[in-house]
Subunit: 170 residues, 2 copies
Amino acid sequence: MDRELLLLGVLRQQGMHGYQVHEFIDQYLASCTDLKKPTAYFLLDKLAKAGWITAEQVQEGHRPPRRVYRLTEQGEAAYQRLLRENLAAYVPAYFISDIGVAFLDDVPGDEARARLAQRRAALAAELETAQAAPVHPGSLQWLVEHRARHLQAELDWLDEILKRLAGRAA
Amino acid sequence: MDRELLLLGVLRQQGMHGYQVHEFIDQYLASCTDLKKPTAYFLLDKLAKAGWITAEQVQEGHRPPRRVYRLTEQGEAAYQRLLRENLAAYVPAYFISDIGVAFLDDVPGDEARARLAQRRAALAAELETAQAAPVHPGSLQWLVEHRARHLQAELDWLDEILKRLAGRAA
DNA sequence: TGCTGATTAGTCAATATTGACTAAGGAGCC
DNA sequence: GGCTCCTTAGTCAATATTGACTAATCAGCA
């Protein structure tokens, strides 16, 4: 239900059409989710069917009509409930993209170090862009900090592994 | 391709049937992914269709036959390639389940603190079980450490937020 | 032996996700 | 105007994921 909470929270601040919702999340909440455009539309449809948001058709020129979504009263209630549930519960995140480390022994030490060094560089670059990115005012910025902390933890871990690999090769 | 790499890496060490693969990952790689049983079977089918693994039908009693999967030569080549790609690339992880923090302002300070305290407790419990869990020898244990670091980062961040909320309410 | 509940093994229909597409509008330029 | 390229806006078929199910075997025990 986290995606649903996200969309409700965004639409609650301001009515938006699908593309706008996607853009907003892509800009300010990229650390939380990589919500693809078709998924955004899919979820908006779902929320509309659940009666949590309504769509107002807006015709402009020869385009297909845009639907501007807004929370309904039930949507507001659902938002309040989901938000509270979310704050109270811890749900683990997964790190499948680090799986290669489980199989490090299958790569010669030199090559392993070289490849991990590449990874480290990409990660460090990500950390820098994350810290340079534009920040939306309010508690949204706490999420940016959140991301930075995780990236830093990942960086420290990588360094530790590189150190161990160096020790092992000697 | 990370899931595929994971399955190849597991099957490479030892031929297994679907249920066994799922069990193994569930036990030793729970920090990397929550691979559901049907997804495991789906991926095994896909790998078999790609010619990366072969299925040996094994009949036992009146059960439906179990298929024991093993890497083919192409599977071994794919494994080597995917592993190297994986080590060199950094792919960001997302934290959608922390989205509630973006909307903290919508909950009265007292309640927010109470709910987040619940979350903190769950997280701390998770960290403890993670550190007490059985460890598979070899570089797999580095992933356990990885998880611990991220959990710790999350814990520190939560504490920081709780502190700020306390300051704000005063 | 017969019963009950847990474990092993796998499937399937419903739901969710995504890459690749269409198509209008606008900006820059000749 | 006519051309090209970029941005905005949305759709759709193919692919992936999951909750809920079936069904055999096994373990304990009266």
